[in-house]
Symmetry: C2
Subunit: 412 residues, 2 copies
């Protein structure tokens, strides 16, 4: 198996000043093409530290991927250190210079002194064009080890990897034929899911691997098959897949890269349904889950954030008596909220949330994390009581996930 | 300066299946007490890889912090590898066993076989109690190097660090006296900010350092003073601070750990103001910015997410002619939205957003990223046009930041 090592260069990451999202993304992409990451490291902006990690990585890996340290300022010393490591010098690369000049020209600017240096590459580098920025990607080969250098800006790095480097890596290393299938679940925890599919998982052949990828409120299952013939492999993985699907079908909302809110959006659009929201404890977060998806105006009409009871009564038409008798966090209130918002916005469904997000506001009867959700359709209104935990952000997020999933399982 | 190395153990992180948030948090905490992280590494769940990184780290650092690999399942081999590294064996630790039993008893459970093993520690370990989970923290000393081992679960790790380990580290290493002051800015980029305070920064004495901590839409400035006498140091840092504040005061919204939405909330509460929101392009995200803050019901009354024009007209009372003549993304529309929501919810201020979040829906006149915001008060309505970029999530986030900052600079 091809072994990779990922190196991040930069004091900002080392001292915890910025979040490194690149390393995870790169290792996940490598994993998908059957390359095993054996070490991830962050080092500072010093020649000594960089040379040391280059040497170590060379001893461990077939592929060394380096991000960061390519900006035009004096702190960024990756290129000079590559020169020292490969015992070579920086030279102006004509293609890089042309692309750089063009990049600036398109933005109505001239290439200035500091930026001109970005067209200088170590003499042994293969130039990899960066369409989204000024620091080029580079590819080096020495003693059977490949070194890749990219800027640390995430969208530039991702552009370079996706457009140029991942295909080049696959070709160079003749990586095995790989087929992935991702099943996305919601409404069940990782360990319960694992128990349900235990027997099926144990029966997987050695060349088909299962990975659990959990996040708050959902779990992805990824089946990865390794082989030589893509057609045969695809069929084999799909067969396994067909066997596990009936066992967990209640929890499966989609496949591949589709997020829950995207899957819901797709289903709403397909069926010609529309939705509106009446939010109390989620305070706009549920609306945001719908509207963060591009094209959501096709099915999301709008909503009312009825945080204060006056807004529940005046804008949403919840009866004052209901609030007085049962409280804002009650089945009776969310029923009215969901039915009223549905009528006001003239949508197929009206979704409502009301609960105690915390950390304060809990009582013995209704502790923090007590949340009611409701969905009204033309013919019926369904409700559900959630008993979540003590963390505000988590309660808000899980309430949104729960009501989206209730919509999915009941009507989509 | 004390050098630290942070090691994360676990295949899930190495293969990019889960996000490692621990490493950044630990390095930021170490930075605050004057300990320099010199390397961060992730390695897999194999004895060979763990022993190798232990040896490397020992050669480079005074303090080696290890997270992960402490769970009760067979994959978690950190403790056994520590034994091998220190040439010792696992022994039942009585205090650990008592705490473990008590932990389970409180939850109405018995300690079972697999979990019993969690009370076994390498014989040379100092036991560090984990109040939030079952895997204890450990402290080792050998040849002048300190090794710390913690579980990878973030809130357990943070609990161990905050309650026990950071104080112990400070005491053991006699770290210098340190005083921090964080200034939080919004509405200005890192490089412009740096230019404004260039002369002030250059005049800082060597024992007072400035760090720029940027995130999307805002930049934190952290002043760190190193010294021996806390009183004198505090005064010195505060003096520097008083000098820079007038230069950048228009951009400063708060200090310390306070986020923008928290600062706005605090100011609204102090002044007895209330707010409501009428959101189009932000689709609930602005409401969420207010309501994610605990206690926001004191000043956030509610809002209308008027995604569809019908909702703008029927619920929000925007004139159909205004929409027809100027379009939904126009100054005229956001003025009506902000003034109407203010009246409907009877709040001090009404905030409105309408724009083209993208990626589709742009025109030559109004390309993606064209966004109008407005805030209505009793006496005046102010508006602002934003020209943001092509990324939907970024546009939504930056619109919220911009309108919060407009509220702050105009009225708070």
């Amino acid at each position: 198996m091809i072994r990779a090592e990922i190196i991040t260069i930069g004091d900002e990451i080392l001292y915890g000043q910025i979040t490194d999202t690149n390393t995870q993304w790169i290792s996940a992409e490598l994993d998908k093409i059957g390359i095993r990451t054996v070490r991830k490291s962050s080092v500072g902006d010093t020649e000594e530290a960089i040379l040391q990690i280059f040497q170590e990585a060379t001893d461990r890996a077939d592929l060394v991927i380096v991000t960061g340290g390519l900006g035009p300022t004096k702190d960024d010393i990756t290129k000079k250190t590559f020169c020292k490591y490969f015992n070579t010098t920086l030279e102006v690369h004509q293609e890089a210079l042309t692309d750089l000049t063009e990049f600036f020209r398109k933005r109505g600017r001239e290439v200035t002194g500091l930026n001109l240096g970005q067209a200088e590459l170590p003499a042994n580098a293969t130039y990899i064009k960066n369409t989204m920025g000024t620091a080029p990607g580079m590819w080096f080969e020495q003693n059977g080890v490949v070194y890749i250098s990219m800027p640390g800006v995430p969208y530039e790095m991702k552009g370079l990897m996706t457009l140029s480097l991942l295909p080049k890596i696959q070709e160079y290393f003749k990586t095995p034929v790989i087929f992935h299938k991702v099943i996305r679940t919601v409404g069940i925890g990782e360990s319960l899911l694992a128990e349900m599919i235990d027997a099926w998982e144990d029966a997987l052949p050695p060349h088909i691997k299962l990975a659990y990828l959990p996040s708050m409120g959902s779990v992805k299952l990824r089946l990865t098959g390794f082989g030589e013939d893509i057609k045969a492999l695809e069929k084999e993985v799909e067969d396994k897949f067909e066997k596990v699907l009936p066992i967990i079908k209640d929890y499966v909302y989609g496949f591949g890269n589709e997020e829950l809110e995207e899957a819901i959006g797709r289903l709403l659009k397909e069926k010609g349904y529309t939705v509106s929201t009446a939010e109390s404890c989620t305070g706009g977060y549920l609306g945001h889950q719908f509207t963060k998806v591009a094209g959501s105006s096709a099915y999301f009409m709008g909503g009312i954030i009825s945080y204060d009871n006056a807004v529940k009564i005046n804008q949403l038409g919840v009866k004052a008596e209901t609030l007085a008798q049962f409280g804002a966090v009650s089945e009776e209130t969310v029923i009215e909220m969901s039915e009223n918002i549905r009528k006001l916005c003239q949508t197929t469904f009206g979704l409502a949330t009301s609960g105690i997000a915390g950390p304060d506001g809990g009582t013995t009867d209704k502790p923090v994390g007590t949340i009611w959700i409701a969905i009204a359709s033309e013919t019926q209104t369904i409700t559900k009581k959630l008993q979540l935990g003590g963390f505000r952000e988590q309660n808000i997020h899980l309430t949104a996930i729960n009501i989206l999933n209730l919509l999915r399982t009941t009507w989509l």
